[in-house]
């Protein structure tokens, strides 16, 4: 069942200023579904991290490329968010498997300031999957809805 809402699709341009529009849109979607504060935080975090990653790394901060975000709320009370881009192939699932072991003790000197976006995507989304498209990438995130 598709979510009965005018807010089920958002097209963004590949520039960081678009994150402001994205944030407002995610607020509308999660408010519409009565998400609790912490669940709204998790959705915001994952979608912003994913889109920022596409802009900064996929499109290398070059404006003029599309990012399409879609939402679908199912009868199983799951909010699914799909993000399509036309950037070179990049799988956050595969990338995550190459990150350092989370359980390994760290020191402040040795920690790398970057790379946390993918880790946060995995930590805060209910589920995460990736599809390679003919002309880009598709990231699918699912969150339990109230």
């Amino acid at each position: 069942m598709l979510m009965d809402s005018p807010h089920d699709r958002l097209e963004l341009d590949s520039q960081l200023t678009e994150l402001i529009r994205l944030r407002s849109w995610i607020d509308l979607v999660t408010n519409h579904l009565d998400f609790a504060e912490e669940d709204r935080f998790a959705v915001q975090l994952c979608v912003e991290e994913a889109v920022a990653n596409i802009i900064l790394h996929g499109y290398r901060s070059e404006a003029g490329h599309p990012i399409i975000v879609r939402t679908c709320a199912s009868a199983e009370r799951t909010l699914t968010i799909t993000i399509d881009d036309q950037a070179p192939p990049f799988s956050p699932i595969e990338h995550h498997s190459h990150l350092p072991n989370d359980m390994k003790p760290l020191s402040l000197e040795s920690i790398t300031p970057g790379g946390n976006g993918i880790r946060l995507l995995h930590g805060f989304s209910g589920s995460l999957s990736y599809e390679r498209l003919a002309d880009g990438n598709r990231l699918i995130m699912a969150f339990p809805a109230p």
């Binding site: 402040l108 920690i111 946060l120």
Partner: protein, 111 residues
């Protein structure tokens, strides 16, 4: 995102952040954070009023903390909200920068 500072006893600089520490918030505070990291021995980063923390915001905490540590100083985080603390834990930052929920404990750990 706003940033302000408050000198405390024991050569501690308390940094009060207010707002969303996302990519825009990080850009707004990075310069000031780096200046503070270059001039403070003990940095207490007060997250009480930080409503959101993303990966770029984490960088705004980690990089200055590394600079302070290289100069022989210490950094602590104060009173993150539940979700901000979960972000810190998910990225293992809590293992390398201590988190406190009361001011006295944080000050005691820094001095």
């Amino acid at each position: 995102m706003t940033i302000s500072t408050e000198p405390m006893d024991g050569d501690i600089t308390r940094v009060l952040l207010d707002g969303r520490l996302d990519i825009q918030g990080a850009a707004a505070i990075d310069l000031r954070m780096n200046v503070l990291a270059g001039s403070s021995k003990f940095l207490l980063i007060d997250l009480t009023n930080v409503s959101f923390l993303g990966s770029m915001g984490l960088r705004s905490i980690i990089i200055p903390a590394q600079a302070v540590r290289r100069r022989g100083g210490k950094v602590a985080l104060l009173r993150p909200t539940q979700m901000v603390e979960e972000v810190l834990k998910a990225s293992n930052v809590d293992q390398i920068i201590p988190i406190f929920h009361d001011l006295d404990s944080a000050v005691g750990a820094l001095c």
